[in-house]
Each structure stands twice: as C-alpha cells, then as structure tokens.
C-alpha cells in the first residue's frame, strides 16, 4: 500500500499530499471483512438483515442482537466494529429523543441521518478521536413513507433502494439490483433478504452464522421497528437454505455438462 511509511496515515484528520485522509480509509477496511448487513426499501416499509458470525458454539442462539432500535419507527444496522455501532446508535437515540421533546413528533428520517452523518464526519476532523469503523444502514418509516440510508466512515451518506455492507456486499449488491425496488412488499423482501444473506455467506462456509432480521412496515408492524416474528424468520430461513442448495445443484450440473 502506498500509504504506508509516508507518515500521512498515522493520525486522523491529516491529509496526504494528494488529498486523501488515510485513517478514514483504514476505518473503511474494518468494515470489509465484517458480517454482511443488508437493508431493503419496500413499498410499505424497510427490511434489515444481518449475517451474525457465530464465534463460539457456547453463545446463546437468538440473543446478542446486532440490529438496534433507534426510535419506534427507526432501526439501525451496521457492519464493522460492533461496539462502534452501539455508540452511534446511542447518539441517534439521543437525537430522536431530543427531536421528540422539542417537536412532539417522530424525527423525520432524512433529518436524523443528516445529524448522524455530521456526527460521523466530526470524527474525521480531530486527531483526538478516530473515525467510526462501521458502515451503518439506517432506515425507517416517517410521514413521507419509507427511507433507507447508508452512512460511511467518512460521514458521507446516500439514500438507497437496497443497501449492503460488510464482507458479502458485492454479492449482496448484485442480488439487490435484480429486485424490483421499491415495489416489493416487506413480506416478500424478508425472503429476499434472507436469501441474499445466505448467498453472501457462501464465501466463508467454514464459519457458522445466524440470520438476524428486523423490519418496519406500515402494513405489518404498524410503522414500528420490530424483530421479525419467529415463524416468518424460520420460513425465510428455510426458503433461503433451499435456494442455496438449488444453486449448488445447478453449479454441479453445469460442471458436469462442461
């Protein structure tokens, strides 16, 4: 890497002669090998899915949730340093709480994301802090309907129809592009999200993982952020596993044909 040894990459908030901020780029590296996050914007809401890598079989299944609730109507999911995502979520909670106490209404998601984007950006400006080592997907439903955004370690954020971060993001992205977004229903998107996470996990089959999913839907959850009910989760998992196997069979057949 050209950055190493130049001395411009040793401190946050320092530009290199060609105008790069290496510490922010390195923060991005912390995301690249992390568990995959997927967010899908649907016609009636937003769906989140997370590939939670299981580091030990002694862990309690179904616990250790990584998808975080920000407010009744907003959820956050991040790939990268998990403790950083809790930090950012706490900040987002504070923001939406303040908004509520000031305006007596739920925080509009674009406004929330803008505030959080600023907060992340601030962590690139000072050498007394480090940038966030996460890509965070924030989504929810407000009076203008569903929203989905992804914030990068630099503080940059974009709105998405389908967002993916973490190790399997390339596969996830190409799968997301095949979907008819945002004209899909949350119920269908659940299955797609599950399938995409299973597909994105292909590359590291040796590692166990647990699928974690939550959603915010006007029709299904009354506009509230909730974890997906056990039966729907199970169903989505089953479908994902099936299509996973089919794909493998297809590959096998192709191989034989060749």
């Amino acid at each position: 890497m050209t950055s190493i040894g130049t001395g411009y990459d040793l401190s946050n908030s320092v530009f290199s002669p060609d105008g790069r901020n290496f510490q922010v780029e390195y923060a991005g590296k912390a995301v690249e090998n992390a568990g995959t996050s997927v967010g899908i914007k649907c016609k009636d809401g937003v769906v989140f899915a997370f590939e939670k890598i299981i580091s030990s079989k002694l862990l309690v299944p179904g616990k250790n949730k990584k998808i975080l609730s920000i407010d009744k109507h907003v959820g956050l999911i991040a790939s990268g340093l998990i403790p950083d995502s809790r930090h950012l979520a706490n900040r987002a909670r504070q923001e939406s709480k303040n908004y509520r106490s000031f305006y007596k209404s739920p925080i509009p998601i674009p406004y929330l994301v803008d505030r959080i984007g600023n907060y992340v950006q601030a962590h690139t400006c000072y050498n007394s802090v480090r940038p966030f080592g996460i890509m965070s997907i924030i989504g929810g439903v407000d009076e203008d309907g569903p929203h989905l955004y992804m914030i990068e370690p630099s503080g940059v954020y974009w709105g998405y129809l389908g967002a993916a971060a973490g190790k399997g993001r390339q596969i996830a992205k190409s799968e997301l592009e095949k979907l008819d977004l945002p004209n899909i229903s949350c119920r269908d998107a659940l299955k797609e999200a599950a399938r995409i996470i299973y597909l994105a996990h292909e590359d590291q089959k040796d590692k166990e993982f647990e699928l974690e999913m939550s959603w915010i839907s006007l029709t299904e959850t009354n506009g509230r952020h909730q974890f997906v009910p056990e039966d729907l989760l199970k169903q989505a998992k089953l479908l994902a596993e099936e299509s996973d196997e089919e794909e493998e069979e297809d590959e096998d057949e192709e191989m034989q044909e060749n």
Binding site: K63, K65, K72, R93, K97, R100
Partner: protein, 283 residues
C-alpha cells in the same frame, strides 16, 4: 415623644435603626441591580390552570378498575370535554391523572419516552405497575423539591411485579399511599365514603393494604360501585362531566379501556327544589 401618628406602634428608629425600604421595594431594587440579582425573584407554577377532577380506582379479585371523566375545566368553565385522563402505559399498567392538564400532558410524554427507552435494549423485561408508580413518584417528588411541581394527583393501577393487583396514589408533593380503594381530588370526599362502605360490606379492612381481602370482590361488583361513584361525583362535583372512561386491568383478560361512557339512570327531580338552579328564578 414622636408626634407623627404614622410612626406610633412601629419599631423605633433609635432602637432598631431606620427601616430599609429596599426590602419593601425589593422588586424595584432588584430591577436596578439586574446584573447582580438577575434570577430574583423567580416564580414557578403557583396554581393549576386547566384542571381535571377526580380519578377513582378499586381492586377486585384479580385486577383493578379505574375511572375518570373527560372534562378539562378552566376555573369554573367547562373548557374541554374530550380530555382522556386514563393513560395506558402497557397492558399491565394504567395511570389516572387529575389536576393540571398541561402537566398531565408532560407526564404522558415522560411515559412515552420511558416506553421508547425501554425498547432500546433487547431486554424483554417489561415495566410493571409498581415500577411505573415508583418512577412517577420520583418525578413528582424531585419537581416538588425544585419548587416547580407538576400539579397533579395520580393513581397508578395494574398488575405489580409480584403479579398481584396494584393500586397506589401519588401527588404533587410526592406523597404516596396504597389502599384497595383510592380516589384523588374531590372524590376523596364524595367517592371514598361510598367505596369504603362497599369494602366494609365485603368485610374488608381497607386500612390493611397488604392483606389480600380484596379478593372476594368480583369484577362486576367493583364496576357497579365505580359507576355509582361516578354518578355521585357528577351529581355533586360542579367541575365534573357526565362523559367518562373506565379502564379494567385483570390478570385474566389484560387491559380494557372503555371511552365515552355516559352516566346512566340519573334523576334530577330534586333540582326543581333548589333555589337558583336552572334558568330564571322560580321562587
């Protein structure tokens, strides 16, 4: 001898020194020295403005029942007739609030905030009625200590941490007490005697709050008694309304909030004998 009658009977200057008029004129004095005393005097709520009247509540065998009317009075004016004063927190807790309506709204928002905060962590341990009561007690008591009270009396009802019916009072001073039958405000004079008579008929010693002798009260009986109280309250409390809500929380059936109930079977026959009642002078 001082011959000025104005000074007679007053502290003598030669003994006590000249009276410091800046004390009497303190307002002007502190106006002039704003830089030094900018905070003086500071006044917080001195009286409630728009008010709600009594909340009543009683325990029965496996739950509680509470009622409050929908009136928001502005002094003696029936200003608002659609105020809901029974606040559902969850399916095990309800808060009935009387007193200042804007402070009621503040409490409502505090509870909403608490609800959101408790959904942050994946805890799955819900607040029970006694937790909510303790929280509100702390809020009210700390506001009283700041000399800026939330001008309310309230009753928290529901199912407590011990999985038993819970009913407890707390007011703007932070005073708290429990009883199988409770009321706030004017209801303390009008409804409590009726509720206590009911308890007595049931052989219940209402001074024993921890006894479970509210258990031989059936839900239907309790409801009948509460309806009777609401009727008497509407008869005699001039700041009340004949439209009210009732909430029932039981271990068996969870929470049920009934709105827009009307007081029934009233008889205003006696009214014609009251001088000054109704339009025009009759006698």
């Amino acid at each position: 001898m001082d011959h000025d009658p104005f000074r007679w009977g007053r502290p003598r200057d030669d003994i006590y020194g000249k009276y410091d008029y800046s004390i009497a004129n303190s307002e002007h004095y502190f106006q002039e020295h704003k830089d030094k005393y900018s905070e003086f005097p500071r006044m917080n709520t001195q009286e409630p403005i728009v008010t709600g009247t009594s909340v009543i509540g009683i325990k029965f065998e496996d739950g509680i029942i509470m009622a409050a009317d929908n009136l928001g009075s502005y002094g003696s004016l029936s200003r608002f007739t659609d105020i809901e004063r029974l606040i559902e927190f969850n399916d095990k807790t309800v808060v009935g609030i009387s007193g200042d309506i804007s402070d009621l709204q503040k409490i409502e928002r505090l509870l909403e905030e608490l609800k959101i905060e408790s959904s942050y962590d994946d805890v799955n341990i819900e607040f029970q009625a006694d937790n909510i009561h303790k929280y509100l007690r702390n809020v009210l008591y700390s506001r009283r200590n700041k000399m800026d009270p939330l001008w309310n009396s309230l009753i928290v009802g529901g199912i407590g941490s011990d999985n038993e019916p819970f009913l407890k009072y707390v007011d703007l001073l932070g005073v708290e007490y429990a009883s199988p039958a409770l009321s706030t405000g004017f209801g303390n004079y009008l409804a409590i005697p009726i509720l206590r008579k009911f308890l007595e008929e049931k052989g219940i010693d209402e001074t024993k709050t921890d006894s479970d002798n509210f258990r031989n009260i059936k839900e239907e009986e309790a409801r009948k008694c509460v309806l009777e109280c609401m009727k008497v309250l509407f008869y005699r409390d001039a700041r009340s309304l004949n439209k009210f809500s009732i909430v029932t929380i039981s271990k068996k059936n969870g929470i049920k909030l009934e709105k827009n109930l009307k007081i029934e079977d009233m008889s205003w026959e006696f009214a014609k004998d009251i001088k000054g009642y109704g339009n025009g002078q009759r006698y």
